[in-house]
Every structure is written in C-alpha cells, then in structure tokens.
C-alpha cells in the first residue's frame, strides 16, 4: 500500500497553515523576537563561561558566535516538538481522525501544518544568519569547503529528527501517555545532541554512550561540519552512520505504525 506523494496537497497545507497563522500577528512578532533573545542569552552565558579565556574544552572563543548561530539553525528542527505534543494530544482526544480518513500520509499532513507558519520566521532567520557571516566575530561560520557538507549533514539530521518525531506520533496511537516522550525529547535534545553546548563538555563516559545513539548526529555532527572542525575522513564516517540510522529506523517505524494503529481506540464521539 502506498500513498502517493502529493506536492499540490502539501503546498496547500503549507499555504493554509501560513494564512491561518497570520490571524495571530502578535504571536509572530513575539516568536521571532524570542528566537533572537535566546541567541542573546546564549551569548551572555558563553561570555560568562569563557571570561577572557581563549579556549574552553577545545572550543576557541572565536568560534562561539558561529557555534551559537548554527545551533539555533539546527534547533529549528527540534522546535517542532510543540507540534508533536499537539499531534499526540489530537490523537488522544480523537480530533486526529479527520486526517486518518483522507488518502494522504497523515503525519506529513500534520507536520506540514506545523511547518507552514514557521516558513517566514525561518527564512528571515536564515537570511540573518547568512548576513551575520559578514560581521566581525562570525568568521568561523561555514568556512570555505564546509558549505555543501554542512547542508548534507543538516539534511541528514533533519531526516533523523523527523523520523524520531514520527516514532513518537505512532507511539501516540499506541499509548495514551506518549505525550511525555515529546516533552522528554525536547528537554534533552539540545544538550545531548550538542547543539546547545559542545558535546565535548560532557563527561567522556556520557559522550561515549551518546555516540551509540543517533543524538550526536542531530547536532554535534552538522555543527562541527559547519564550523570546519571535523578530522579528515570523519565527515564520511558520520554521514554513513546517519544514513545507517535512517535506514534502521524505517522498518522500526513501519512495525510501530502497524502495531500502533491496531491498538488505536480513537476516543470521542
């Protein structure tokens, strides 16, 4: 059974979500400001950590602004967690069934619905990030030779994060309490992926354990790629690891989906 790819439908979902969200202009302004307030807070935090030292835990002070900006870009993927919570909630209260009766991949429908309103903010942020490169202090941002690898690494990390979200959504059909997974994932992902703080700052044992999971591939891998801080041949190995995780998650997702939909009780009149 295949549900065909429907670009026209996804365009319409993105468009409708965007138009719907324009109803809430004030939220737009606040959210855009909030994303940059977070960056400012991170800069202040790092300044306190460094306090004039040229390097902390292998990360030079000159790279910090670029690290923060790249981290923000990558965390856009994980900011969709609120949408996943909403999705799991709709599955729980039965509202989600309006997607299930349509011949379309329903989680993608929901994801597109969540992404639509974010497009202007993301675009504006991306333009700002590109512009920042020309400001003093941001020299380490995407040095020559890293741009294409960074895009590849970021794309792989986005696919992986999307698969993890999908897994949580399917578990939402299975367990009424799946909501906690999206909350737990959101709490941990910034630190454990290395997009909020450098992964090397964690204890060695923790890093060794994390390397057994896909989490560093969501943040640390694209971050280090974008900062040009990967060892020779490391990019290929990490990219292969990400690809293997993506492939390994496909059957797990298919099995979870089948099992979860069998258990779905679709409460509510």
């Amino acid at each position: 059974m295949t549900l065909h790819w429907k670009p026209r439908a996804y365009y319409r979902i993105l468009r409708n979500a965007f138009i719907s969200d324009l109803e809430y202009r004030s939220s737009y302004y606040i959210l855009f400001a909030a994303s940059w307030i977070t960056v400012a807070m991170e800069l202040a935090l790092f300044r306190q950590i460094y306090k004039g030292r040229p390097e902390v835990g292998g990360l030079p002070a000159s790279v910090v602004p670029a690290f923060i900006v790249l981290g923000m870009f990558l965390r856009y993927g994980s900011t969709l967690w609120s949408m996943i919570s909403e999705c799991v909630e709709e599955i729980r209260n039965g509202n989600f069934r309006r997607f299930l009766i349509q011949p379309i991949h329903y989680p993608s429908y929901f994801f597109a619905k969540a992404i639509g309103p974010k497009i202007p903010t993301w675009t504006l942020s991306l333009v700002t990030i590109v512009a920042l490169k020309f400001f003093p202090g941001f020299d380490a941002l995407l040095p020559p030779g890293t741009r294409l690898p960074f895009l590849v690494a970021a794309a792989l990390s986005y696919v992986l994060i999307w698969q993890i979200y999908l897994l949580i959504v399917y578990l939402g059909f299975w367990f009424e309490e799946a909501h906690f997974l999206s909350v737990a994932f959101n709490i941990g992902v910034g630190i454990l992926s290395g997009s909020l703080l450098p992964l090397d700052w964690l204890p060695d044992a923790a890093v060794r354990f994390l390397r057994l999971t896909p989490l560093p591939l969501l943040g640390d891998f694209p971050m280090r790629t974008g900062l040009g801080r990967l060892d020779a041949g490391e990019f290929e190995i990490r990219a292969l690891q990400a690809l293997l995780w993506i492939l390994a998650l496909i059957p797990l997702l298919a099995w979870t989906k089948r099992r979860a939909l069998r258990s779905y009780e679709s409460f509510g009149g």
Partner: protein, 238 residues
Amino acid sequence: MAAAVKAFFRPKVSTKWAVAGLDFQVAAGQVVGLVGANGAGKTTFLKMAAGLLHPTEGEIRVLGHVPHERDPNFLRSIGMVMGQKSQLWIDIPASETLELLAAVYDIPSEVYRKRLDDLARLFDVKEHLGVQVRRLSLGERMKLEIVAAVLHEPRLLLLDEPTIGLDVVAKDRIRGLVRDYNVEKGTTIVLSSHDMDDIAEVCHRLLIIHHGALRFDGSVSEVASLKSLVLETLSSPA
C-alpha cells in the same frame, strides 16, 4: 480529587465490548439510520467502517475493502462527517480547505471547479465559501462540512450525528440536502442520530443498536411510530 490522585498512581483498566453481534449488509444507494442510546456502539461502528478502528474480532468489509487496511482506493471511496469534529480549517475561508481536499483527492482543477459550483448551488453555500469558517453559524458550517465530505464524490457517506446542536430550521435544511444528494448521486449513506426526524425524513432503513448488538433491522416506511419502536426496543431485556 482523591480518585484522580489514586488513578494517577494506580490506573484502573477495564475492557468493554463496544460492538458485539452486529451483523448486517447495506445495499448500494441505500440510506441507513443507526439509532441507539449513548454508548450503544453507533460511533464505534462508523469508526470501524471508516477504517479508524480495528475490530478485535469478526469481519468487516466496506465497498469490497477491509477498512482498517486503509487502502488509498478505499479512502477515496468514503466520506465522513462527524457532528462534533470539524474537518474545515477554522481560521480561513472554507474554499481554502476545499482546494486542499481537491489536491488530497487528486481532483483535476476543472472538475473541482464544476463540482464545487454544483455543490454550492445544491447546498446553497456560495456566499459562505469566502467567509472564515469561525464566523459562520453552526448550520452554515455543517452544510460546508458535508460539501467537504462529498467533494470527491464518495460511494459511501458516513454521517455521525450531522444535525447535533442545530436549530429546527437548520436541521430541516440539512435533512433535505442529504436526501437530495442521495437521490441525485445514488451515494450510499449511513447516518447515526438521536433525532427520530433525521431517520424518518432521510433514511430508507433503520437499525437499532443496543449494548453493541443489533436489536432491530427494518424499513422506516413500515414503522408506524419510530419513537415508540426505539423506546420499546431499548427498554426490552437483551
């Protein structure tokens, strides 16, 4: 509150058979009314027919498909209106949702425009298409919900309490529209309702469900008093 705290630490789980002993067939083009008390299993049956629920036992086939396999061809053949759940995007005009549905159901643009024109005339909603859904009355919204559910011309339309919360005039209008649509398109319709007038004015056949089992199956035209029949059936022992 004590019960809520207790349930937080030690949730009590019980199993209830929502539907058991429901055995019937529906002929193409027929309008069937499902009646039963709250919790009788009407909505559960409709959810199974739409493929939302997997039956734990027994077999269900709809239009030659096993609904919960969710074959895209099956999903294209059904439409569903849930009186208490909206399929329309609330903050934008209904026309935008309809455009999206046309894309989801792969309806070519020209066919879509012609179909929408016909439906807008039949359901008298032309002037409401460009209005934000949240600004519409419940009756206007329900008409648009039905338009959204039949836009792809399903062979089977499942209506779960489509007149719930509507005033007398709106109910009458919705009933007339559903009846006219069935006559015009020959679509099979299964409708659940607590309102006997819905059944009397729209349905050919009545099914009374009680505690998940079928208790009456007969022609609406042969029943002298629907209300008496339903009350009698639902109060008699199983």
